[in-house]
Symmetry: C2
Amino acid sequence: MNSTGQTRKEEIIKTAAKLFKEKGYSAVTMRDLAKAVNIRAASLYNHIDSKQDILKSIIISLAEEFTRGMETIKNSEDVTINKLRAIVALHVNITIHNTYGMASLNNDWMHLEDQLDHYLSLRKNYEQDFVEIIKSGIEAQEIRDSNPEIIMFSILTTLRSLYLWIPKKEDLKGQELAKNLGDVLINGINPKSTKA
Amino acid sequence: MNSTGQTRKEEIIKTAAKLFKEKGYSAVTMRDLAKAVNIRAASLYNHIDSKQDILKSIIISLAEEFTRGMETIKNSEDVTINKLRAIVALHVNITIHNTYGMASLNNDWMHLEDQLDHYLSLRKNYEQDFVEIIKSGIEAQEIRDSNPEIIMFSILTTLRSLYLWIPKKEDLKGQELAKNLGDVLINGINPKSTKA
DNA sequence: GACCCAAACTAACAACCGTTAGTTTACTGA
DNA sequence: TCAGTAAACTAACGGTTGTTAGTTTGGGTC
């Protein structure tokens, strides 16, 4: 631990995530990363196994965090609208506390090697759970009877892109953002819809 | 022109866009691209100036296409809801006829060199026009009085991600998709909202 | 049949890539 | 005071990168 309460390894991974967000995994060299943490490239290997290992750390831990969140939400007894609000809050919270990592999760997952299948499996399950929640909401007439996959896609891509947008809105608190965003995504923008 | 009605240069750029979508600009080598068009890397340079030149061709032409579309929409006399539907249709149409290029536009713009400032300027103006349309819709009480930037962000990120999703829905016609998507984005998913 | 030229080729360049080996530095606890 | 150790360093490796130079190929035109 250093004065900021994080190990050197954590600092390297965090810095890497920041660089990956700016240029993407492939365009960031180990020498770029080393310069950003003020050491030489070879010294990085005292702390990490490989460049690939850094990407794996960033992406898999985030993906598993989403999976755990979804597990809790889908097992809750709440109505669909509240489950959707919980999903929005899940994305907002994770994105706020790991904005840089979200960029890698979105854009660099295909550069995973050993862990690619594991990641794809987590993502597929997440999307299936999401679409099931929407379908049961349609059955319960809680949400409009539109194509469930279009609804899921529309919400999920907005949530997945939050990392691009949250840094520009530092004034907006997490809960406030989750509420605003939930309103727009769930009630739409048409003023004739009833406030939920 | 060859039998498919496209020049070798066009074929190279199209193939490059496909590869860029799969792995990103930086991870695609000129040898990868050459193999995909069945020639040697050096032969590519009989048709294109540089790797950077390919990226520029893909991104700038698309960005200018969006700019022209937005110009037409914002100068139309239509009501806000219809302008928004026109924006949805603009994205759906461009994405259908250039799915691969949309990936580069979204993910690889930061690797533009000389043309980066030009691209950023086009994007900034597009987003400003978009948010102005939403603001005037709120004033006219055509759309709900929520944060205009959250509304714009929510719609635009969905539209920008269409390239990820359209290939999986080949059965869905463009107009049909534009209508479905417009309904979800404009009327939301809450069944209590009035159908527009 | 000689010529042209677009478009392919082979070979190679200098720079850069991730990574390893071996060494030095600076702090810690006995 | 000195051995131990984490973490930095220098140097270099084999491979890959975008690109250039120079050459060959093959179909169309006079």
